[in-house]
């Protein structure tokens, strides 16, 4: 049976239109690759670059563990160790976690919205080059042996030019600020694209749930990143030009840094969690063979999460000496933030319970997510209670808590997402017989070392 003549003619004209469109949008050969603006290309570059930093950060974490495996170990000199553990946190938080979720957002969001590309394609490319530039500054400093060494949180007064005279802290402030500017440009891009570029007929309440997650995340980024950029500029002007923002002997306050850092830093935890929750909400219905339960409840929960997450940053500072009323407020907020998170967890569990889960490789990582994130979340509620926090502050309990949070909230869902979308990204599927032992290696290794 042959197709009708009209359809053939229509098909060839569609093909011609497709080729014309592709020649406008495609990336050129050779050096023109540097000018690529297409969201698929830039998104893949984001993910690939972030994966390289993931590997670097992981190796730094292993070096830290080797040093700590035996007491008084001579494995690294103290100066080297300080750089290695500072860079472990800096690389994984600023160069891996945030850019990786941005890469997934850049790659997936226009496809999910039914848009040809983002609203400002050149801005996407600008964001990528800013990120690569900032990351290169940091890794270059690590190779040159002058990497930041004041902890990934860069607390003043240790990070001031009095106590950290070299360029180490300046490298952090410059490199991270470039990465933050990159994140801010992408946040603007995502908000505008979701609000203005959706396919005809796709009202906000019919948008795929991933779109809601990205809209809320991007709005949070617009509000959360300026405090850290501001703090970095203030600290850099103090270091370079002697301005007294964080110096108590000249009327400054070292706690100002902690407030600015955590006003960014706490919402940032949800900024990296929400997109991963978005991919979980997308994948779980597929593997459960059952539509997502509680779409509206989840949308309300993520909006609530966004607001509450901006009112709890002081729980990183319970021991610095703040008024009792503030302690009570931030303690209550930190416990309440578990509620919208739990709404999503129970929506996913309900979806799985009503369906027939298929134990494919992404589903294994989703299981890894549930078990680690539950431990991270419950230890978080313990730390939200001030008397307990006073005992556990700055101990390995906190270190384990936040590793379970970022491992559960980012690493496991991310690996699930990469397995799930690998055929879309590369045209190939993963080798099942290798992927399953790889999961158990990751799962057992994570629980043994974090």
């Amino acid at each position: 049976m042959s197709p009708p003549v009209e359809a053939l003619a229509h098909g060839s004209s569609a093909l011609r239109l497709h080729r014309q469109l592709a020649s406008v949008w495609a990336t050129g050969p050779g050096l023109q690759r540097l000018a690529a603006v297409n969201h698929s290309v830039v998104g893949l570059r984001f993910m690939t670059t972030a994966f390289v930093f993931f590997a670097i950060g992981g190796v730094l974490g292993m070096l830290t563990r080797v040093q700590l495996a035996t007491p008084m170990s001579d494995f690294m000199a103290p100066e080297t160790y300080n750089q290695v553990f500072t860079m472990h946190g800096t690389v994984l938080l600023f160069l891996f976690a945030i850019p990786m979720i941005e890469g997934i957002a850049v790659y997936l969001t226009p496809k999910i919205l039914g848009a040809r590309d983002f609203a400002f394609p050149r801005l996407t490319a600008y964001g990528y080059w800013c990120y690569l530039f900032g990351g290169t500054i940091l890794i270059g400093a690590l190779l040159a042996g002058v990497a930041p060494d004041g902890g990934w949180f860069m607390y003043t007064p240790l990070s001031s030019n009095v106590y950290t005279p070299g360029v180490n802290a300046d490298v952090w402030l410059l490199g991270v600020t470039f990465v933050e500017i990159s994140a801010l440009t992408l946040a603007v891009e995502i908000v505008v694209s979701i609000l203005k570029m959706r396919a005809p007929g796709m009202s906000l309440d019919r948008m795929p749930i991933f779109g809601w997650y990205m809209l809320v995340t991007a709005l949070m980024m617009v509000a959360a990143f300026p405090p850290l950029i501001l703090g970095s500029i203030l600290l850099e002007t103090e270091r370079a030009f002697g301005l007294p923002f964080f110096d108590p002997t000249r009327g400054g306050d070292p706690l100002l840094w902690q407030h600015l850092f955590w006003l960014f830093g706490h919402p940032d935890v949800y900024i990296i969690f929400l997109p991963m929750a978005g991919v979980l909400s997308t994948m779980i219905p597929v593997f459960a063979n059952q539509p997502l339960i509680g779409y509206r409840a989840i949308v309300v929960a993520i909006i609530a999460l966004a607001f509450v997450s901006f009112g709890i940053w002081v729980h990183h500072m319970f021991t610095v000496g703040i008024p009792h009323l503030a302690l009570a407020f931030f303690s209550a907020g930190s416990a309440i933030v578990a509620v919208p998170t739990a709404v999503q967890i129970f929506a996913w569990l309900a979806t799985l319970a009503h369906g027939r889960p298929r134990w494919d490789v992404p589903m294994l990582y989703i299981f890894g997510f549930f078990s680690t994130f539950a431990i991270g979340g419950l230890t978080g509620v313990m730390l939200a209670i001030v008397p307990f926090d006073w005992q556990a502050h700055n101990t390995y309990f906190v270190v384990a808590h936040f590793h379970y949070i970022v491992g559960g909230a980012v690493a496991f869902p991310l690996l699930a997402a990469l397995y799930y979308w690998l055929p879309l990204l590369t045209g190939r599927t993963a080798m099942h017989q290798l992927s399953v032992p790889a999961f158990w290696l990751v799962f057992v290794g994570f629980n043994l070392t974090s």
Binding site: P78, N82, Y155, L158, Y163, T164, N394
Partner: protein, 56 residues
């Protein structure tokens, strides 16, 4: 400057260590707290060299 209030119910020598990462040498930042019985406190304060010095 900074005050650190420590409650000790039993006299003795207590060890403490720096809780906030403070650069190179952080590992060696340790201190001892010597708790005297209330009756001996005035005498101990009067002779800080004998009572207050940390034994090496």
């Amino acid at each position: 400057m900074n005050h650190l209030r420590i409650q000790a119910d039993v006299p003795g020598r207590y060890q403490g260590l720096c809780n906030q990462f403070c650069g190179s040498g952080h590992v060696e930042m340790r201190f001892d707290v010597i708790v005297h019985p209330a009756a001996d406190f005035a005498a101990a304060i009067a002779k800080p060299d004998a009572a207050g010095k940390v034994k090496q």
